[in-house]
Amino acid sequence: MAPSEGWRPGAGRDPTRVVAVAPSERDRPGAGRDPSCVAIDKAGGESRSRPVVFRVSITVRAVGTLALAFVLGASMSALAQGPMSSGYKPNAATSPPSAAQPPTAAAKDAKGALDVNKLFASTCGWCHSNGGRTAGKGPQLMGTTLTDAEIANRIRNGKPGQMPAFGSAFSDDDIKAIIRYIRDLKEA
């Protein structure tokens, strides 16, 4: 084992190796770490008083399209300020208007419905393997004997310690699209 004296991979590697960098939203230097923006409370005595906490809201908004050559369609990203942000609220429209759908919501297909295949590849596939065709962390969805109402209920309410509750993430139409996708599942 030969120690590599005086050379460190992290130091030698050129961090500017990326060739194509799309013009991006300037980060606001001041919108950073104000350590005094969280209030803490020392609860003395027997009873536990509710501490006062400053909730700094994160402002998420649409930004311009990524100018990467091989991105299909209009894909966008959002500016998510850190929790210690000073609360700076950026102006609404400094970037070109995006497509009709909110850019940071779950992807839609060509017909404007929820793209469930993409949703599985983003999120559901964590537990429902192979697009839902195979049992994994979660049960196999292909060929399920659950009724539409049971599936909808499970998606909305989850199962404690096993599946999250997605009720606030999906509309009724979204859930219909997911059920349609599940019913259509066939061996890959």
Partner: protein
Amino acid sequence: MKRSHIPRLSRMHVPFAVAALAAGILVATAPARAADIDMQRLVDADKHPADWLTYHGTYKSWHYSGLDQINANNVKNLRVAWMHATPRSNRGLQGFPLVADGVLYYSGSYNQLFALDGATGNQLWAYKQKLNEDLVAKQTHSPYNRGIAIGYGNIYMGTLDGKLVAVDMKTGKLNWETKLVESEKLTVGFTGAPLLVRDKVIIGSQGGEWPYRGPIFGVDAKTGKLAWTFFTVGGNDENDPARKTWGGDSWKTGGGGGWMAGGYDPKSNTVYWGTANPAPLYDWGGADWKTTGARPGDNLYTTSVLGLDPDTGKVKFYHQELPHDAWDFDSAVGEFVMLEKGGKEYIVHPNKGGFVFVYDRQLKVQNVWPGVKNINFVKSIDPKTGELIGRRDMSEGKHQALCPYIAGGFSWNAGTYSPTTGLYYKVGNEWCMDLEVIKTTPILEPMAQLNIGSNFTVNKTTPDGGKARGHVSAFDPFTGKVKWEVEYPQPPLASLLSTKGNLVFVPDARGWIHALDARTGKELWSHNDGQGHNGGIISYMAKGKQYVAVMTGWGGLAGDDYKAIWGEPWASMPTDQGTLVVFGL
């Protein structure tokens, strides 16, 4: 706080042996010592093996007990001394208990805390955090807790909904809580243990597949005031060179994070911390990842090991173990095993992909060796430089038998180093996966969702002709040479413990805890704890007697796969139970 009449040991100039005897006596008569856990006790933790004061045992991360009352000769007589059942144990008990002065503290799911008499298991107090339960119901990597820190009279714990809390060690009452992460929007909070270093509590949020920027926080240990934040994705501002390693806006949803407690070197005042993978996990850019795809560039500081200044949170030095990690093989495991050899100092750190990195204390690569057989995400890693050779980058479409599986060649369960044998014992996982890489976009509304980037399935066999399986190997930590290896049909997901009594304890996935001879791997004792293990194991003394305490309880995310791969008993194993089981002679 009442002052104890018993002088603090640190002020007494006595030989260690007498001090240890005095400590044994003091345990029974001086509960006021519980307030005296300060940095000196943490730095000297290995000199006082009756305690287990920090997640990894000591700042050196050996997961080793210097006790030998229980040893290879008498372990066959080990039996259950007491147990503690934990309510609401969804996804089992995944944390490490801590012991100070004969009192055992541990955390359970939904941020519950318990203080127990270490000799009898009698409960001294219980604490239940008031959580945003509506939020917790929406989380995936939840509701478990992986551990706590103690010091300055407090138990420190990160909550599922993004707070760091300090609970009084003596009374179990909340001293303060500080909101650090807007979990209501980002969905994630904390599951990992914090680390107490000098006057700061350091904790890293969940990140990885979550589309945010993986902050690590330094909080004042006495007041709870936030002192610093370090964003593992792209650094803290646009001037950080790390920012340029993310094409376009991909840094804004880059994942990262540092969700396990790391280590600390008091001599240089350096905190060592591992960072998690970037998001999405699988990048459709494939081999053209430098210029195209979901996140072009090296993606600093994801999948890296960092040397941080605990006072400021600034990065002193780092090494990125996997530049442009395209496989979810993060460096977040907090084992920074601090060793010395030939008058030189080293750090040994396992990466989830199955390689072990050997560094000097400035994180310069000294060697890299594989700890598992089934690896093909790279052909190799240059042992002198850490350069990845023969990367397997995957563009959109189907791919077969990527090794290891997303659960890792090594998972987050800790290995153990024994100074008695000089060996590093570690669980290795042999399993692979098929996947279809699919282009995804980050979902942030109405709340952040996972951004994986593929549909995948675990394989029941491995390309080397075997089955998916695991092993406990005894390695030379510097070279990776295997002294002995014990195979397990299912990879154990719990951490290991080695002791001065020449024992290595392996709590397995089926529910059996094994005591192996540390020198040979021979099994000397075992016990069926009733359900699989997916958490920590420690040894400590209370009232002059040595105990081994192990967490039980199944249903963690990696364990969730076992029913599909192996069927029973995992198909019928509870995933909402947890019991702390404590053994003695």
